[in-house]
């Protein structure tokens, strides 16, 4: 097999080309998109999708899924924000609470799926309802803005120098995501946790018979997903002036869709964080970029749906062709 051929076989490579193509199209057809600020905004709104994507990659590799991440993320951001607003707790503590809640719901998912043996769909569908319910018990909640006390947490994702018109903003979050991507890619490929995640997705029974505590690692997969959802909640709070209860359903689809576009096998056993990064980028480009080239908001949903089908079809046709040889 030549090197060129294997590159084309890698869905990540195809995804990267699509991402670049999209960027080029936007650059050519929209002069607004060429602005630094447009890129900044696109990045702003990609962080939480990205974090959810990193997290949900692990359940998807185990051939499971976590449908609770969208409503979960909003729920944690709501609870955290409410505590800041009504109980005057420091923002740092609220962030910690977001993460802890994410881990707790992740743990619940993990126990339901890994220990009690519920189907991932239905288990996380239930926690999706539960988190949506818990979130709706809070009121609409603004987190502190950058200028308010406690607003420092915005700087995790975007550094602002100066103020007003002349302010220079640096998307540090993007580089944070790159670092996280490298870390998680390392975790996936070079640590026990990552290896066993793949093993569980490929053949859970065999993994268990190899003397591995499959239940523990299966639970951990969801805990990690929950942890990232907690992080995503912070990123979400940082870009959304008011976190609104009753929202969040559907946000998980952006992240999960991105992961699939990035080449995770729909039947488990294979996945890559770099792929997730590129895939989620594509979804975000579609989500935030289409209005720039004059397409109304509703087209983005249709196009996202079509892109998802195409991505999975490519995977399937590729496999079919490989099987036929």
């Amino acid at each position: 097999m030549t090197k060129k051929k294997s590159l084309l076989n890698d869905q990540r490579f195809i995804a990267l080309i699509i991402a670049i193509l999209l960027m080029v199209i936007y650059f050519v057809f929209s002069k607004e998109f060429r602005k630094y600020s447009s890129i900044l905004s696109m990045l702003d709104f990609s962080y939480y999708d990205m974090l959810m994507g990193f997290g949900v990659t692990f359940p998807l590799i185990t051939a499971g899924v976590d449908l609770s991440i969208g409503t979960g993320m909003v729920c944690y951001a709501l609870v955290g924000g409410t505590l800041v607003r009504n109980n005057n707790i420091p923002v740092a503590v609220a962030m910690l609470i977001c993460i802890l809640m994410g881990v707790a719901i992740g743990l619940l998912n993990g126990i339901l799926i890994g220990v009690m043996g519920l189907a991932p769909f239905i288990a996380t569908l239930s926690t999706c309802m539960i988190t949506r319910g818990i979130g709706s018990m809070c009121n609409a909640t603004p987190w502190p803005t950058l200028q308010q006390p406690g607003g420092w947490f915005h700087s995790i994702f975007k550094l602002t120098f100066g103020s007003g018109r002349g302010a220079f903003k640096f998307p540090i979050g993007f580089f944070l995501m790159l670092v996280l991507m490298c870390v998680m890619e390392f975790v996936l490929n070079h640590t026990k946790f990552g290896r066993y995640t793949i093993a569980i997705g490929s053949n859970r029974e065999a993994t268990a018979l190899s003397g591995i505590n499959v239940k523990f690692y299966h639970v951990m997969v969801y805990v990690v997903c929950g942890f990232f959802t907690g992080l995503a909640a912070i990123a979400y709070a940082a870009v959304t002036p008011t976190v609104q209860p009753g929202t969040g359903a559907g946000l998980e689809m952006d992240a999960i869709g991105g992961v699939f576009v990035g080449g995770v096998s729909a039947t488990g056993g294979y996945g890559s964080i770099i792929g997730t990064f590129i895939g989620v980028m594509i979804i975000c480009l579609l989500k935030t970029g289409l209005p720039y080239i004059g397409l109304q908001a509703n087209w983005q949903q249709i196009i996202t749906g079509v892109v998802l089908i195409v991505a999975v079809l490519i995977d399937i046709i590729k496999k079919r062709r490989a099987a036929a040889v």
């Binding site: 519920l118 319910g133 818990i134 729909a266």
Partner: protein
């Protein structure tokens, strides 16, 4: 206990079904005792419950077929909205006759069913992914078509099309309930007494064995999705007959409740086992729960949490029962 389980009538209905019916009755009694004015309102609360039952029932019946094949359809809620929106737009903007709009709505449901079924059965795209995609497409297409306008269907006061409301009730008589009961019986007949149902259940249990028996599994698997699409279209009609207006961009939440009703009734998520009666009871439980919680003065949030917990318990019971059997 064993004796009761072996009783032929109990066996016919299914022991779990009987427990579910008891749960349903207990719930009603508890609401009557626990909520001031619940019993005093007579059938009113029950009639409110019915509004919910109608559309959710059709959705749940539809998704029961899909889950019986071992698949899943997360797109039913948004597709239902898409049907109602497009039909409504034809009514309001093109002034098409109401019957035509109803047919259009149902046809849209069918089209989505055919699309999902084709992709799953013939192209082997995982059902979960395809429903994610068609959910987006349904939302987007409906919004584009209606120009992001919510669509209202005729009220009972409408001089021409007022009869539309008669499909759910005429002078307080719940026509909708009768229609729903008939639909459930038809679904039951289809699932248990026709080739289609037999094949759907068998292929949900062991697809390869059915294929190697010379059965066109692709066709029958697709038929489950088409059935689901058709029932989703009908659900859309009942939704607007009960709630008049649909708004583009939504509908997700009804997926969860429809699937919850189906799973609660004992339809197995791994496929092969499905119970129409169970689905019907499951739908009633969810609907009664929602009315009861509202009557208690609590919000949708509590209902979601309680439903979520009930689903977990129901599915866990199913899983442990299965484990014990093996």
């Amino acid at each position: 206990m064993e004796k009761i389980k072996q009783n032929p009538i109990v066996k016919k209905i299914g022991f779990n079904r009987i427990i579910l019916i008891c749960v349903l009755i207990l719930m009603y009694v508890a609401f009557c005792v626990g909520i001031k004015g619940f019993a005093a309102a007579g059938t009113k609360h029950l009639l409110n419950t019915m509004n919910y039952v109608y559309f959710l029932g059709f959705l749940s019946l539809g998704v029961t077929f899909v889950i019986a094949t071992g698949g899943i359809d997360f797109s039913i809620g948004p597709v239902m909205f898409c049907c109602a929106l497009v039909g409504g737009y034809c009514l309001n903007s093109y002034k098409m006759p109401l019957v035509a709009d109803i047919i259009i709505a149902i046809v849209i449901g069918l089209v989505f069913g055919i699309f999902n079924g084709y992709m799953v059965a013939y192209q082997k795209v995982p059902a979960f992914i395809i429903s994610m995609a068609s959910m987006n497409i349904a939302k987007g297409a409906a919004a584009v078509f209606t120009k992001t306008q919510s669509q209202s269907w005729p009220l009972s006061t409408d001089p021409v099309n007022g009869w539309f409301r008669n499909i759910i009730s005429v002078n307080g008589f719940p026509v909708g309930l009768v229609i729903f009961a008939i639909a459930a019986v038809i679904c039951g007949i289809i699932l248990y007494n026709t080739k289609m149902g037999r094949y759907i259940l068998c292929l949900g249990s062991n697809r390869e064995a059915v294929r190697l028996s010379g059965v066109n599994t692709k066709k029958w698997e697709m038929s489950a999705y088409v059935m689901c699409g058709l029932l989703t279209g009908i659900a859309a009609i009942f939704f607007v007959a009960a709630y008049t207006t649909v708004q583009p961009g939504y509908g997700d939440q009804y997926n969860n409740e429809a699937i919850a009703g189906c799973v609660m009734g004992g339809t197995s998520m791994v496929g092969g086992l499905a119970s129409i009666l169970g689905t019907v009871i499951g739908v009633f439980i969810i609907s009664l729960l929602q009315e009861g919680i509202l009557a208690l003065g609590l919000g949708k949030d509590i209902q979601l949490i309680v439903t979520g917990i009930i689903v977990i318990v129901a599915v866990y019971a199913d899983v442990t029962a299965r484990r014990r059997k093996n």
